[in-house]
Symmetry: C2
Subunit: 375 residues, 2 copies
């Protein structure tokens, strides 16, 4: 922070009114110039910026103070609130907000960019002091950049965006998937299927065979993509079968379609002896498909799911899953958001929370099933 030659007496933190007075402009003009919104004449903007520098301002603090001392509300934009992952993350965020005396305002993006944009815009209109968002896109960032320019800190949940200077709270998706698939391979399975939470129109485009014959994933970093990456790395490292036929794609939050895709996977001529599902909806679809096809778990097929939801322990057999804690992730995102709201200006961080492979009874050694293949 530059030395404040015109700092107010007593080293009180300068207000936007101080900057306006120092620059000889109205408070509204000072706010617009510093918050980088609305129209300001170029010469006035320069006057304001010079005044701000003399007084030692942080633009964030200015933009915030313009919002009449803060609305004591924060926003959360999740992909699908009826998905237990987001519902639980929201719960963690709401708990922290309330501890801080803030009201959380929640919005739903449906995992669609235009809906997310509209939600962020509404939250900015509502003058929230910060936003936690589970971003739909890692490339279309204008709406998030705009929030930052208005002095509204952004914390990302579930997905990190390298191109955006914003904290993120994530898990190591690739490592978590690798561990899950390595567990199956360690049990002797050679044909391990993947039920991936990726739009079926997009999936086969993303996963393609390279010149060396290996399958690789293109495309920007997202949880599902990183989990496919972990699956492929484990399969390659263990020299197991790498085949596009062992992968099925199904969109977010469509359990019925996940079940149909899982049935296609389980009933192909040479079916996998084990399957990994990349999220909670695909895990449910996979379990239902095995049931519906009369397959014994794990005798006919071993299953590893993602997300340690209650139901995975209520079913028979209880499922082996990759556990993450959306409650902790929601809490951690909110805690960091409040640090930013209070003026913490260290560089953006990627906060990686742990996952755990919880081995229960849905996975067993290859070779004592009733429907095994020579593999």
């Amino acid at each position: 922070m530059p030395a404040g030659t015109g700092a107010a007496p007593g080293r009180r933190r300068p207000t936007v009114a101080d900057v306006a007075r120092e620059a000889g402009v109205s408070v509204a003009t000072a706010g617009r110039a510093l918050g980088n919104y609305g129209r300001v004449r170029d010469d006035l903007r320069e006057q304001v910026q010079a005044a701000a520098e003399r007084l030692g301002y942080s633009p964030n603090a200015v933009a915030r103070s313009m919002r009449s001392g803060g609305t004591r509300s924060i926003g959360f934009v999740g992909a699908d609130i009826s998905n237990p992952y987001f519902a639980t993350a929201m719960r963690g965020l709401c708990d922290v907000a309330r501890e801080q005396g803030y009201e959380p305002i929640l919005a739903n993006s449906d995992d669609r960019l235009e809906v997310e944009r509209a939600a962020v815009s509404v939250l900015l209109d509502k003058q929230v002091e910060g936003i936690v968002v589970a971003p739909t896109s890692v490339t279309d960032l204008a709406h998030l950049e705009r929030a930052k320019e208005l002095g509204v800190p952004i914390v990302l949940l579930d997905r990190h965006i390298g191109a955006l200077e914003a904290d993120s709270v994530v898990i190591d998706n690739e490592a978590a998937a690798y561990e899950a698939v390595a567990h199956l391979l360690g049990l002797g399975h050679r044909r391990v299927g993947l039920l991936a939470c990726v739009d079926p129109a997009e999936g086969p485009e993303l996963v393609a065979r390279t010149g060396t014959g290996r399958l690789t994933v293109r495309g920007a970093a997202r949880p599902s993509i990183d989990r496919i990456r972990g699956y492929l790395a484990a399969v390659d490292d263990h020299r197991a079968t790498s085949s596009a036929e062992l992968i099925q794609y199904t969109p977010l939050s469509d359990a019925a379609q996940a079940q149909r895709r899982a049935e296609a996977l389980l009933t192909q001529p040479q079916p996998p002896t084990a399957v990994f599902a990349t999220d909670n909806v695909t895990t449910q679809g996979l379990f239902m498909a095995a049931r519906r096809r009369g397959l014994a778990i794990p005798a006919d097929v071993s299953l590893v799911g993602f997300d340690d939801l209650d139901w995975t322990t209520l079913v028979d057999p209880p499922l082996t899953v990759v556990a993450q804690s959306p409650l902790d992730m929601g809490r951690a995102a909110a805690v960091r958001l409040f640090e930013r709201i209070k003026g913490d200006d260290r560089p953006a961080e990627r906060i990686v929370l742990p996952t755990e492979l919880v081995v229960r009874s849905s996975t067993a050694e290859h070779g004592h099933g009733v429907r095994e293949h020579s593999g």
Copy 2:
């Protein structure tokens, strides 16, 4: 609507500016007088009201038009967003809002009145055009009355409030519970337990024995209370065992405590041969308790749950449940809210959506179990 002696030409719906002009006051004063907020001199208030009557105004429309043509956002206050019932209702509400070009703003009340009050207050500050609320209390209504006075329509979800002139979208909780318990009694069970979603500190106060020896429920109408009422009516009508020992209480959204309470119910000296749980969390606790105690379902104990969540069909045996549709309830509440926002001023209605007893495999006739009592 009174005949408009001073109606604008062409029968255009009069605006707040028309009322202000007619009354000879500023638009702001007209809005305050008609919306019943802020301070207005008594003589000016009378002038404005007379002008409004001459022009044929509805106060709601006036208050709404004051909010600069509408913010195109609506609010939803649910008890606990991590509960699948509320998460799914929110989903239905969000879908309708988006179809209408509105942004939904969601808040969480934690089923605590002071949190609900704060949430409603924030939503009013954010100038939402209407609010759907699952009310915590059916007696403390000042915050909801205030919203109505500001011209912000309220639609209640899950609970009806007789004392509040507001639409509600509900199910017939008493009839649904009666049907569930009658199903168990029809199978020959005489000792039917109840796991009720009511604060354990409050439950024994609410359910008390009358002079005739019958148990009755006091207390205002809430879903859980009405479901207890249905349980007691079915037990009485079938002359089955009516005993406070057959009832356990457990608070909303605490699956661990629900499980402990269910275990206490199932392990008492003369345990029930069938149990009805009043909501989805108690249903889960009940199922887990039976499992943990090594009880075969339905051989040792028959179970009927509430809410047709996915997991109830994934477990073994699939559970008999009372099915309601929170998605339809959220949608219906939003549809009605938009009718009100658009000026529909018919009297408040109680909209009752259907429930269905879905009989699966967790209920069986009394008498072919391995742990039966002479009953």
